[in-house]
């Protein structure tokens, strides 16, 4: 599994590439820990190129989601499909994760959220 980081304005996109399993899922947690420590405030986790994710991968997603939520930092998860979607459905996590259709939707939602925040509106 490879993790690629790119920036879209103030939003950081983490592209996860390859199978996410117990031999490598900890790397996502480590990366997000570092990003939080360095003050990144808006995250997209793009799973478009993840063909398979085991329970350790799900554990990492739960960790990232929980940690960011705790700190009030917005997250969107895009590109969830195939067996990754199936496992999220099976374990009834669809409602817990901020899953959106695709990367464009994720970026749009986070930009809208940032704008609402800047304008002093309650975030949606």
């Amino acid at each position: 599994m490879e993790l690629k980081l790119r920036k879209a304005g103030k939003i950081y996109v983490i592209d996860v590439i390859g199978e996410m399993d117990l031999y490598n899922a900890f790397r996502l947690k480590d990366l997000v820990k570092k990003m939080i420590a360095s003050g990144v405030s808006s995250y997209v986790l793009n799973l478009d190129q993840v063909p398979y994710m085991d329970s350790s991968g799900i554990g990492s997603l739960l960790y990232v989601n929980t940690e960011l939520k705790k700190r009030g930092l917005p997250l969107r998860i895009s590109g969830v499909k195939g067996s990754v979607r199936k496992v999220i459905e099976l374990t009834r996590l669809v409602e817990h994760f901020p899953i959106v259709q695709d990367l464009d939707t994720a970026l749009q939602q986070l930009r809208d959220k940032a704008r609402e925040k800047a304008e002093g509106q309650p975030p949606g």
Binding site: L22, Y23, F26, P51, Y52, I58, R85, K86, V87, R92
Partner: protein, 387 residues
């Protein structure tokens, strides 16, 4: 294996045959090998490095296969293939069951009852046998109508899937693929009768009953997706335990086991040793067949075997999860309760409870059990599904 995917199973398989399968091989003077299976039994069968998916499908359809087994030092690099193989096997079992159930439904229908009343010398029932040539001739006579019949069975369902906003494109495609697979698997006799009676009132009634059964089988077949994930998860769980155990043994340190999890080159070294010692993990699919003992038809038993001395611990961990009540609970609830160091190895065991719920919903019976072969360290994780 779904449409569009590789038609070849890229896995070395050991296949044992049913009595019918063995007879066919002998009649056709094909060589059978004596094979040592994961549980040390010696069986006759075939061993292949790769296999066209269509050949395996065909052999399952005609009830030639008793078990399909794979033995490897690791399964992580073959997850996609194992997921596809699992789905292929489950779909075939269900296609066969659908064929039997819909044939029986037709034989019990007013349409056939009326025919039997009017033609007492040419009764059609479960004991009626037609040679393949007779069936082909019957089918040829109505060949032009078969595509229409097939469409009429599926059309309302497919329309429903297309209009169902809660389904993703991927889910619609899967359901359409399954729907087609089930209809193609229908008995030739059923298709002939339908084609010959198109437009009659009893035809419409039979069609409606067929559609209801088809819809329920399609949802049942979705279980294969979850089962495949469960199997791969259990293989991962067993694989880690195996790595740790062998790493400790050959490297002589308790820490080596943990290091193997994060160090790919160390894992490669451990794997080499496993292969040299033939210290492998096995995955076995045991298919129920007509000729097997009563109650095993349409049954699938999946066994993961490992020479694991920690049998008791494995049993406790697994059985503890099986009984977990997941009603109204997501995996997040269990994640919160697990100590951090256990999340990577134990979170996936909760999938069992979710799989169990999904099976209950579709009226599929599932049992899971951990056992040990007497006088050996061979630990077996069994999942049995009765479709």
């Amino acid at each position: 294996m779904t449409a569009g995917k590789s038609p070849v199973i890229e896995l070395p398989l050991t296949i044992t045959l049913t009595t019918a399968g063995v007879e066919w091989f002998r009649r056709n003077r094909r060589q059978l090998k004596q094979l040592r299976m994961a549980d040390s039994r010696l069986e006759y069968g075939i061993a292949v490095a790769t296999m066209p998916a269509s050949s395996l499908q065909k052999m399952i359809n005609i009830d030639y296969i008793a078990t399909v087994e794979l033995a490897r030092s690791e399964f992580s690099s073959k997850r996609t293939e194992i997921i596809d193989l699992t789905k292929l096997i489950v779909h075939r079992i269900l296609f066969k069951k659908f064929e039997t159930e819909t044939l029986r439904m037709m034989l019990d229908s007013p349409l056939i009852k009326r025919w039997n009343r009017q033609n007492p010398s040419r009764l059609i029932d479960m004991n009626t046998t037609y040679s393949p040539a007779q069936l082909d001739a019957l089918l040829a006579a109505v060949a032009a109508d078969i595509p229409t019949v097939s469409l009429e069975i599926q059309e309302p369902l497919l329309r429903g899937y297309a209009a169902n906003a809660s389904l993703s494109g991927e889910e619609r495609t899967l359901r359409a693929y399954l729907s087609d697979g089930f209809v193609v698997s229908c008995s030739k006799l059923l298709l002939c009768v339908l084609a010959m009676t198109r437009g009659q009132e009893e035809y419409t009634q039979l069609l409606e009953e067929l559609r209801a059964v088809l819809a329920s089988y399609i949802e049942k077949a979705i279980i294969s997706e979850y089962l495949a994930l469960m199997i791969v998860e259990l293989l991962g769980y067993t694989e880690v335990s195996h790595y740790e155990q062998v790493a400790r043994r050959i490297l002589g340190s308790r820490r080596a086991g943990t290091a193997a999890m994060t160090d790919a080159s160390l894992r490669a070294e451990v794997r080499q040793r496993m292969e040299a010692d033939r210290d492998l993990l096995s995955l076995t699919y045991q298919l129920g067949s007509k000729g097997a003992s009563i109650g095993t038809e349409h049954r699938l038993r999946v066994t993961i075997s490992n020479e694991e001395p920690g049998y008791r611990r494995m049993r406790e961990q697994l059985e503890g999860r099986i009984g977990t009540d997941v009603k109204e609970r997501s995996l997040l609830d269990f994640y919160r309760k697990l100590p951090e160091q256990q999340i990577s190895t134990e979170l996936g065991l909760y999938y069992l409870s979710y799989l169990q719920k999904a099976c209950e919903k579709q009226n599929v019976r599932i049992e899971s059990m951990v056992s040990q072969v007497p006088r050996s360290d061979l630990t077996l994780i069994n999942l049995t599904l009765q479709f």
